[in-house]
Amino acid sequence: MKSAVLVDDEIDLVESIQEFLETEDIKIVATGNNGQEAVELCIKHLPDFLILDLGMPKFDGIHALEKLSEKNSSIKVIIMTGLLDEEHKANLNRFKIDASFTKPTSPIAIADFIKNN
């Protein structure tokens, strides 16, 4: 069973996607609400995937990506964001991103990607 850490500041979204992915036999080992938590949870649980929102208060998704790339993490990253503008795209080019989805993201698409990778 593949495992994932899910991080988004929208609590309802985290819960609903978590519940859906679990019905698809993907284990959500932990959930968080900001970039700092994403880093801590990835180090603690070493999941196969990190499903990450970009715009979050205090520590955003870019912060998490920076910290994880410093640690040479091999966790596959799935970005799930409300707005992917030019600035964000340019920022993301610095990191290895395995997939990116624009909200409203279909949880089926995320599940399919995880299963096939």
Binding site: E10, I11, L83, T105, S106
Partner: protein
């Protein structure tokens, strides 16, 4: 009285005082010549003028130094100007001491040191002023300045040299110093005048350069009078020095007033300064110049019959008329260029402002649209995944749980749309009385209060006069923000009521995290948000509503408390 009126009044008083004091000094001098006594009362008055006028100049310049900043005048530049004025004051005092107390006329004397130092200090001051503006100075104006300076320098130096070839070397050097220093100072003066006529309109520097031009005219006239042995104490040419001291005093007064005006009056001041320069600048300059020169000529002519060599008088009169004509033409030309540039610049600035306003509007609309799009995507995401969960496993429990999520998301979307509409729509106030408890209850009924958050109402239940619909939006936004802060860990929201003679004060306090210092001042600005969700219009709407009620809203930390103050006696 508004700031525009007060600036206008200041300019009137300033202008009238300048003209009145100049005319007064001229009057004292003119009357003086009708008395043939050796030492008349007017002699003593004119004597006093040499202490009083430079004395006032020094006092005002020291007063000006107290101000941290005088618009358009670098501090260092002002210091050197003041030193120059102090030198002129000392020079006048030393001169008087020799003339009236010791009854001697030594040359060279201590007065000469001060007389020569003063224009040099003025030169340094002008250079400091001009240095940061060097990019705006055209080569053409530098060449013209040097040419005019040479025009003054060459004849004066030649005549001085010829007339003094019998004196010793040191004396000759000192005598030659005067025309040389004056000619050098004339260069930055002409550059400054040309600069002021193009872009940097600043009445302070216009007056300073005007004063210096009058002083150079005085120095040159004095030189010719001295060379032909026609100078005597209280000669009409002295008037020119006094006029330049007066002009400088008024320029400093103007600078001081300028620095006192608060920054929001800057635009008014600039408008009046430009208007004043455009309308009266050239006229004032010409009036002062011409009145002074004509008075000097009349006085000399009056005395010429008795004392003067008529040949010299012809030469002197034509010299003064020539200076007068040159200055007048120069000023008229400069004024025309200035007016033309002013018109061009005004229309250019208007165009730029319009473009900026448009760009700002588009940028705000773009920002808001992007926020709304981002904010809608999150609840839409919740609705999408909840819907899929229901489709996949439509048990009663799953349906009920996901329906709640969908409802919350729909509420969120409605809230975002309302936020925008509340901010954009400006409505007339419809005041009515409502009890505070009713207001709070109605607000809470429209909100979903998560478990773990408790809301405490005040014990007091006063009747409050307000626009109920608007106040519900106000309370909704403040309480909604507090709920969002407490959503994760729970906490208390406490609503308190206080009053004084004139105001109702409502305090909404939450036990959530404090607002960081760097954001607290921006919290009521439109489009400002620290949340990654939200339009940034909620609290801006609150401020707008409270302002419409002639009240205030502010926020304090430890604990976070929004304080709304509304006058009790409100009228629509």
């Amino acid at each position: 009285m508004n700031s525009e009126q007060s600036i206008g009044n200041f300019h009137k008083i300033w202008f009238i005082s300048l003209i009145a004091s100049t005319l007064l000094v001229i009057l004292v001098y003119t009357i003086n010549y009708f008395y043939e006594d050796d030492f008349s009362i007017f002699d003593s008055i004119s004597l006093l003028l040499y202490t009083i006028i430079p004395g006032i100049l020094v006092t005002v310049s020291i007063w000006a130094l107290r101000y941290e900043k005088i618009n358009g005048v670098p501090k260092k530049s002002l210091i050197f100007l003041c030193l120059a004025f102090v030198c002129w004051f000392l020079a006048e005092q030393v001169w008087m001491l020799y003339d009236y107390v010791f009854m001697i006329d030594p040359f060279p004397s201590a007065a000469d040191i001060f007389y020569i130092s003063a224009p040099l200090l003025m030169l340094i001051s002008l250079v400091i002023f001009l240095r940061p503006l060097k990019n705006q100075i055209s080569k053409k104006s530098i060449i013209i300045a040097i040419c005019i300076s040479f025009l003054l320098l060459i004849p004066t130096v030649i005549i001085t040299y010829q007339e003094n070839n019998d004196v010793n070397f040191i004396e000759l050097i000192i005598v030659l110093f005067y025309p040389i220093v004056d000619a050098i100072v004339l260069i930055p003066i002409i550059i400054t005048v040309s600069l002021l006529s193009h872009s940097k309109k600043n009445l302070f520097w216009v007056m300073i350069t005007l004063g210096m031009m009058v002083l150079i005219a005085a120095d040159t006239s004095y030189l010719f009078l001295e060379l032909t042995d026609n100078y005597y104490d209280n000669h009409p040419v002295d008037l020119l020095w006094l006029v330049s001291y007066l002009i400088w005093t008024f320029s400093l007064w103007y600078g001081i007033y300028n620095s006192k005006i608060s920054s929001n009056s800057d635009d008014d001041l600039k408008k009046y300064e430009t208007q004043l320069l455009g309308r009266y600048g050239a006229i004032a300059f010409l009036v002062i110049m011409n009145v002074t020169v004509v008075t000097v000529l009349l006085s000399i002519n009056y005395f010429a019959i008795n004392q003067y060599d008529l040949e010299f008088l012809d030469f002197f009169t034509s010299f003064l008329v020539m200076i007068m004509v040159i200055f007048s033409i120069l000023i008229i030309l400069l004024n025309k260029t200035m007016q033309k540039n002013l018109k061009q610049q005004t229309s250019h600035i208007e165009n730029i402002s319009n473009e900026l306003i448009k760009a700002e509007k588009f940028s705000a609309i773009g920002e808001l649209a992007s926020r709304l799009a981002h904010d809608m995507r999150n609840p839409l995401g919740v609705i999408t995944s909840s819907n899929m969960l229901i489709k996949k496993n439509p048990t009663k429990e799953i349906i009920s749980k996901n329906n709640e999520r969908i409802q919350r998301s729909l509420d969120r979307m409605e809230h975002q749309i309302n936020n925008v509409m509340d901010f954009v729509r400006i409505r007339k106030l419809h005041l009515q009385k409502i009890s505070l408890h009713k207001l709070i209850d109605d607000t809470l009924n429209s909100l979903i209060i998560p478990n773990g958050i408790t809301i405490k109402k005040p014990i007091e239940n006063p009747s409050i006069q307000c626009d109920v619909e608007q106040f519900l939006i106000l309370f909704y936004n403040v309480v909604y923000n507090a709920i969002q802060k407490l959503e994760k860990n729970g906490g208390d929201i406490i609503i308190n009521y206080e009053q004084n003679d004139v105001n109702n004060i409502i305090k909404i306090q939450d036990s959530g995290e404090v607002i960081p210092d760097e954001t607290i001042s921006k919290i009521f600005e439109p489009l400002f948000t620290t949340k990654y969700q939200g339009t940034g219009l909620g609290l801006a709407s609150c401020k707008q509503i409270v302002k419409q009620h002639k009240g205030t809203i502010r926020v304090e930390n430890n604990p976070t408390t929004f304080i709304i103050t509304i006058p009790k006696d409100l009228k629509e």
